[in-house]
Symmetry: C2
DNA sequence: CGATAACTTGACGTTTACGTCAACGTCAAC
DNA sequence: GTTGACGTTGACGTAAACGTCAAGTTATCG
């Protein structure tokens, strides 16, 4: 009934990051793996944390923000002011994410239009001087 | 019939950035405003460029990527290989953006769930030891 | 036992995107 | 004419997120 564990290179390979990055996250207080001697041993919970870190990064959170969210989440279960603060942070981030999604939609639309234009001008080649609007 | 122009502080205020940032974008080859003596004069086209720069940043493009896209867009009208490259870059970025939107959706969903939990535990207070699942 | 591989802890270097002076130019207002 | 307000060009500083050695430790294989 031994719990499943991982070493640092396994995690690095699984998530396609460097071991240096993983140690850096630990330096920043985002991970606290157990040790066997001086070597780091990661359990499933550590692995989940790492996944959360990486997803946080993908949506534009800084490591500091991720750490704050971890800390608040840990504290939020029995401290009401912390819990309120947690909710506020989440709401604020939600607004940022929604705004970002709007930007992304706009850009995707424009990409589609531009690609349409490109392929058209590839088809009827040789006109060479499309009027470039305003950019 | 003089064209509408702006100076650097006007643009800085309008877009809530510093003049330093605007000059930095020029250093990086993203803007080329006219000059009146040594002072910079921005026209509507410069202003649109600045808007594009800022939107590019908001969706996670580096200044270098933005510059490349500008350059490719400029060249793409009469150079077919450039145009193909342009399309490839746009397609790649589109995939990144779609993946990012997926991440954002997941996080927004979780934020909603967490907020629900928070408000519930605020209502029926005093149980103090919610089982924190896996985080 | 020695070699090799994998891991460890510093320590310093790097890139991006500006911030922050310093020192100077210029133009209108007093 | 000088005093601000605003603008300019360097030059150096900074924070985030690692990369890149260097030098030592531990485990394992033959």
């Amino acid at each position: 009934m031994g719990e499943q564990v991982f070493n640092i290179t396994e995690l690095a390979q699984e998530f396609d990051i460097t071991t240096r990055a993983i140690r850096f996250y630990e330096d920043q207080g985002l991970l606290e793996p157990a040790r066997a001697g001086q070597r780091r041993i990661y359990n499933r919970r550590d692995r989940v944390r790492l996944m959360l870190i990486l997803r946080g990064k993908r949506i534009g959170l800084s490591l500091q923000e991720i750490r704050e969210l971890f800390a608040l989440y840990d504290a939020a279960h029995d401290d009401e002011p912390q819990l309120q603060e947690f909710i506020r942070i989440l709401a604020r981030k939600e607004q940022q994410l929604l705004a970002q999604m709007e930007d992304i939609k706009v850009v995707l639309t424009e990409i589609g239009q531009l690609r349409g234009q490109c392929e058209k001008s590839l088809g009827k080649r040789g006109n060479g001087h499309n009027q470039a609007k305003e950019l």
